[in-house]
Symmetry: C2
Subunit: 404 residues, 2 copies
C-alpha cells in the first residue's frame, strides 16, 4: 500500500503516513490535518508535492478553508520538505511491522491515546508508535516525568531511583526518555518497586537507543510498561528529534521533575515544555558544588520549578494531594513545645542545680513574681520543675540527659 | 550611679539602664521609651515598680499620653517584670566596663547606629553593646547575614566559607551569630579573605559563647570587625535571647542567607524575621539526602527564599546588581549555536563519512531541496560541511573528535 492507495477515511493509515512525511513538531502539517482530516490532507499534500505550481494550489486551499490563512505562507515551504518522502510510504507495512514487534500504533481516535497530548495543539504527534502495552493512557494520565542529565552523578542516580520507587509505590507511572544517567535510573527505580514505566524515545521504537539500554527497555516491556515514539520504526534519533521528543514527555505527564541537569541540558528543555503547557515542574536540589545540579538550581532561582526532595512532595506537586497526602513530617518535639510563653521563659531560666527562690527567678527570667508563681505550677505539673527547700530547680534527669 | 541618679535627659545612660531592665524584644518598654523618651520612661517605671497601686499610675500615664492606650493592659505586667532588676542598675559602671573592654555602647542617636534597626519599631533594641569597631553602621548598611545550623556538615561549612570569602572580596560585611558550625565558617571565610565581619551574640559581649569560639571572636576584633549584643555584659545567652537575637541579625543586614538548616532550626527563625522585615532571604540548596539542608529546601519549597549558589547570586539577592553585577555565567558553546534553524537541522543530518546528495539530505533532514542548498552554503562557510564529489559530508576532524 502506497500513499495513493490509502482510503481518504482511513484515519490511522493516513496518520501513519503523515508521521513518515514530517519531522516531529511540524505545525503546518498539524494545522492541515486538523482542518482537512489526515486522509484529505494527505491527498492534497501529495498533489502539491508533485505539482509545478504549488502557489496556485495553496491559494485554492486557503480560499476553501480560510482557517488555514495563518499557515498560508509556510505551506509552500512545508510541501517542499515533505516532497522527498512520499516515495517511501507504506502504512500497511508499518502496521504489520509494529504488530510483529508486539506493539501497535495509537492515534487521537484510539482508546489509549494520552489525553495530555491534546494540549500540544498543532504540534501534537500524528500518531504514537508503541511497543508493549498499547493502552498507555490509563498509566500516563496519572504519570510523572522524571528527567535529567545523561552525565549524572551517583547522587543524582540515587535520588532518581528513590523518587521513582516511591512513585511506583503510589501506583504512579514514571515517564522518562530511556537515556543513560537519570533517565535510566528513573526507569530502574520504578521497575525495582514493581511499577509501570514508560520510555519515550527520540528515534524509532524498534531501535534501542542508546544500545546499552536495550536490556532496560526489554525489562520495561516485560513488566507491563511501554516504549513509545512519534518517529516511525527505523527512525534515527537526531538532535532535533530529541528536543521535540521532550515536548511529548512533558505533555503526557501530569508533572515534570528534573533530578539533575547541567546549566545547559536537554532536561531543561523538557521543563520548559512543561511550563509552556502549564504543567507543574519540580527540581531536585543538590550540592551547589556539583555542576550536575546547576540546571536544577537555575530553575529554582528563576521560580520556574518547585523544590522537591521526596516522592511525597512530587505527588503533591502533581496536585494529587487529595489522593496521596504527603505524610506529615515527623518533627522532634522538645521540652516546652506545648507550654505557654511565660512557662517556657521560666523553664529557660530554671537552674540545673543550685535552686532559686521566686524573686531571683523573676529577675533572671524577666518575669513578674506573679508570673513566676503561675509558671512554676505549670512546670511542676509537667514534671519540668521540682521544689528544693524554699527554691526551685530542674528535675533530676536520667543518665542520657533526657527526661526518662 | 544608680537608677535614681540618671539625669532625665541622659539618653545613653537611660537606655543602658533599660537594657538591663528588660528582656530583648520587650515591646511595652519600647512603646514607653518611644513615647516618653528613655529618661522619663525610666523615672515612671521606677516609681511604678515601687508603688502599691500600679493601676492608678497606668491610668494617669495613659490619660497624659493617649498613644500608650495600645499597651495599657500590658503595662502593669511589664512593670512587674522589670521590678526585680532596678536594684542592679549602674549605667556608669557598665559604660566604664565597656570602655575597658575596648568597646562602647551605641544608641539610636549615635552616629554608628545601624539604620536597619529602625524597621523593628517597638522591639528595636534599647542600645547595642559593642566590642571592637564602634561605628558599625558603615559596614552593616551593606552587609549580608550568613546563618545556619550548628550541626553543620563539611559541605555546608565549605559553602559558607566560600560565600563569605566571595562577599568579603566584594567589600561586603558578613554578619553571623558567632556559633559553631555555619556561623563560625561564615566568620572564618570573611576573615580569610581579609573582610570585616560582625558577630551578633545572644549573651553579653564580654562572655564568649560558645567558649570554643573565643579565639575566633578575638580574630574578628583584630581584623577591624565588631562583636555586638543588645544584652548587657554578663548576660547569659538563654534560649529566648537566641531567638530574639536572630531578629537583630536579620534587621542589621541587607539580606539573609541560610546555608544549612535542619527542618527545625534557629536559622529558620532568622529567615522568618528577615521575611517579616521585607528583607530578601536566600537559601543554599544541598543534597536532599542531607537532613542538614532540609530547612533550606523547606524555605525554597515555600517560596520564602530564593535559591542562591554563589556569592554573585547573594549580591544580586541583596539588590546590589548595579554595583556588583554577577559575572555572566560562561556557557560552553557548541557547533551550530549561531546557525539558523534550517542549517542546524541540516548539520544534524549531515553524514560523517558516506556523502549524501541534495535530495537525500532533504529527505533525511525533512527540509526542501531549496532549503538544503541554502543551508549547505551557510555550513560550508562556517567550516561545518565539505563537498565530496557530488555529495556532502561533515568535515574531517582532528584526533580529539572536535574540530581542530
Amino acid at each position: 500500500m502506497n500513499a495513493a492507495q490509502i482510503a481518504v477515511d482511513d484515519e490511522l493509515a493516513a496518520r501513519v503516513a503523515w508521521s513518515r512525511l514530517i519531522e516531529p513538531g511540524d505545525a503546518v502539517a498539524g494545522e492541515l490535518v486538523r482542518t482537512l482530516g489526515a486522509g484529505r490532507a494527505l491527498v492534497w499534500a501529495r498533489a502539491a508535492a508533485s505539482s509545478d505550481d504549488v502557489a496556485t494550489l495553496v491559494t485554492a486551499l486557503v480560499d476553501a478553508e480560510p482557517s488555514l490563512g495563518e499557515v498560508r505562507r509556510r505551506l509552500g515551504t512545508a510541501v517542499g520538505r515533505w516532497a522527498g518522502r512520499f516515495a517511501d510510504l507504506d502504512p500497511s507495512r508499518d502496521l504489520e511491522r509494529m504488530h510483529r514487534l508486539g506493539g501497535g500504533v495509537l492515534h487521537p481516535g484510539s482508546v489509549g491515546w494520552p489525553s495530555g497530548l491534546a494540549d500540544l495543539g498543532p504540534i501534537a504527534p500524528m500518531c504514537l508508535w508503541v511497543r508493549g502495552r498499547l493502552e498507555v493512557s490509563a498509566s500516563l494520565d496519572r504519570s510523572i516525568a522524571l528527567v535529567g542529565a545523561r552525565a549524572s552523578t551517583s547522587y543524582g542516580e540515587h535520588v532518581a531511583v528513590d523518587l521513582a520507587a516511591g512513585l511506583a509505590e503510589h501506583s504512579t507511572c514514571v515517564v522518562s526518555g530511556g537515556a543513560y544517567g537519570i533517565d535510566a535510573a528513573a526507569h530502574r527505580g520504578s521497575l525495582a518497586a514493581g511499577g509501570t514505566t514508560v520510555a519515550l524515545l527520540a528515534g524509532g521504537v524498534d531501535r534501542a537507543y542508546p544500545v546499552g539500554n536495550a536490556p532496560l527497555l526489554e525489562r520495561i516491556l516485560e513488566q507491563g510498561g511501554s516504549v513509545l515514539s512519534e518517529v516511525p520504526p527505523g527512525g534515527v534519533p537526531s538532535k532535533g528529534r530529541f528536543l521535540m521528543r521532550n515536548r511529548l514527555i512533558a505533555a503526557v505527564s501530569r508533572a515534570t521533575v528534573v533530578v539533575e541537569a547541567a546549566w545547559r541540558s536537554g532536561a531543561l528543555s523538557t521543563a520548559n515544555h512543561a511550563i509552556a503547557l502549564l504543567r507543574p515542574v519540580g527540581a531536585v536540589p543538590g550540592p551547589v558544588t556539583s555542576m550536575a545540579s546547576a540546571g536544577c538550581h537555575r530553575l529554582l532561582r528563576d521560580g520556574a520549578a518547585v523544590c522537591v526532595t521526596d516522592a511525597a512532595e512530587v505527588l503533591e506537586l502533581a496536585g494529587r494531594a487529595g489522593e496521596d497526602l504527603p505524610p506529615e513530617r515527623v518533627t522532634e518535639t522538645r521540652d516546652g513545645d506545648d507550654l505557654d510563653w511565660a512557662s517556657r521563659r521560666l523553664l529557660d531560666a530554671l537552674p540545673g542545680r543550685a535552686p532559686m527562690e521566686h524573686d531571683e527567678l523573676a529577675r533572671t527570667a524577666g518575669l513578674s513574681v506573679g508570673e513566676v508563681r503561675g509558671a512554676l505550677g505549670v512546670l511542676e505539673l509537667a514534671g519540668l520543675a521540682r521544689r528544693v527547700g524554699a527554691g526551685w530547680a530542674r528535675p533530676v534527669r536520667g543518665p542520657t540527659g533526657r527526661r526518662p
